[in-house]
């Protein structure tokens, strides 16, 4: 347990100094939020006020960027720099290290959710029950585990450049086609048909649904679990292939 706690502490210090994290996970989504809520002021999506709807979208986007891009590329970079190989000559196992990395990311994801919810609430004065905030936060946090698994999957790529390009394309696809930047309803039908099946859309849809109806759709949970299992099996397979 001690190596995990030490690594969580070390990784947290490291991540909070990471300019990429600060710019792409916090600053950019916040700027986009300010911009789009200004452009679409007074509008509503379904039964939700646009400001609130887009708060969920941008929080999801930030979590996807952090988990897939920042986390995935960082793991890849550490692996290429031989840091991990060197670290494992010390009293810490690979399982402990990756568990610590996951915990750190989940802590950071909690911080991201708190950051967006507190700032936007102070700014926009949403009149929402605390229970709803907590359920949405929990949903976003648990769902982000899938995107961490996708980040680890990308980190299995042999070349850093390939991993970086793949992560960028994936994040943009998740953000745009998943309806995180603009509501999916504004796209042509065939794009909507694709977007509805993307994990980012299913993820955000779960939170939007809680905001609109106060309940979760069982199908959203099942689909995200399926995506997680596929990513997890992919990681295990690639790890096995590399070792052999």
């Amino acid at each position: 347990m001690k190596p995990i706690m030490l690594t969580v502490s070390m990784e947290s210090k490291r991540m909070l100094k990471d300019k990429y994290f600060l710019v792409f996970s916090l600053l950019l989504p916040f700027v986009l939020y300010s911009l789009f809520t200004y452009i679409n002021r007074g509008q509503a999506i379904g039964q939700i006020d646009f400001d609130y709807y887009f708060l969920i979208s941008m929080t999801c986007y930030s979590l996807v960027v952090t988990s897939v891009q920042t986390f995935g590329i960082q793991i890849m970079y550490d692996r290429k720099q031989t840091w991990m190989a060197y670290l494992f000559t010390h009293p810490i196992s690979a399982a402990q290290y990756f568990a610590a990395r996951m915990i750190t990311q989940l802590l950071l994801n909690t911080l991201i959710i708190a950051f967006f919810f507190f700032i936007s609430n102070a700014w926009k004065q949403f009149d929402r029950p605390l229970g709803e905030w907590l359920v949405i936060s929990l949903w976003l946090l648990m769902g982000s585990i899938l995107f961490l698994a996708i980040g680890i999957l990308i980190a299995q790529t042999k070349k850093l450049q390939t991993a970086s390009v793949t992560a960028n394309i994936l994040v943009l696809t998740f953000a745009i086609l998943g309806g995180l930047w603009m509501p999916l309803e504004t796209f042509p039908n065939w794009v909507q048909a694709i977007g509805e099946w993307l994990p980012s859309h299913i993820y955000a849809q779960g939170a939007w649904r809680i905001a609109a109806t106060g309940s979760l759709a069982f199908s959203n949970i099942i689909l995200l679990v399926c995506y997680f299992l596929v990513s997890f099996i992919g990681v295990v397979f690639l790890q096995y292939k590399q070792r052999s």
């Binding site: 210090k13 100094k17 550490d78 720099q81 060197y86």
Partner: protein, 281 residues
Amino acid sequence: MLELNHIKKSFQGKSVLEDVTFKMTQGESVVMLGANGAGKSTLLKIIMKMLRPDGGMIESSLEKSRISYVPQSPSMIGNLTVWQFASYLLALHGRKEQTLEALRKAGLEAKKKEIAENLSAGQMKRLLFQLAVIEKPELLIMDEPTAGMDLEAKRQFYRQLAAMRQTGMSFIVTTHILSEAEQLADRLLYLEGGMIREDRLIEEIKQDQQTITFRASRQYNRLLLSLGYQYQDGIYRKLTKKTVEEIKVLLDAAVPLEQLEVTNNTLETYVEELEGEETLL
């Protein structure tokens, strides 16, 4: 303490270690030499369990925590200060309170607030070495430990290592600096083509062959060359295992020898000879 039997390793179908077998006892210091790509770093990583061999067996009486490693390439991570980096690794060993001591010995106390990734290669090596030895391991494995170090840092490193050898600590070290190899170890492992070609005590190598040098009149040139002597800058020279017999031949031939000297072989000349044979092969 450590026994490797028929270790094999290949990467993407290319064999790096063909069949490596050797044994090491407590207190031994081994220097591993060989051309680039001979498999030295791979072998060290296999001993450190950073890589799995494709074949063969490793038997070790040592626990993983009793083996320390100084890697060849700097292994730093971004955004951590020198202090945070060192204290994290030492905390994993339960020795966080010795962070200042390690930085002081590495001569990096003044740089503790700097980003670790920005240290020079030599500074990183000094730090990684101090982190590796702070727990007084039973076996210390070092891959090119002095690469990038300045002269003073090297001297300090040799002094500290000599003191540790007195305590019975065992070493396996790779280096390209042959003069350094003599200072670092008692035993030589020479790797070639993924196999151990030579496994000998350095003292034995030095005593095994000697170099005879002398000056002589040029009228004996043909005779001396036919006896295998090399001539350069007025001096005849020959590396031999039979010094007494060689000198007897010269005396029997009545060659007037001036400034006759017999010196023990150096590791450098021995390895040069091995490398020469390797090139010919």
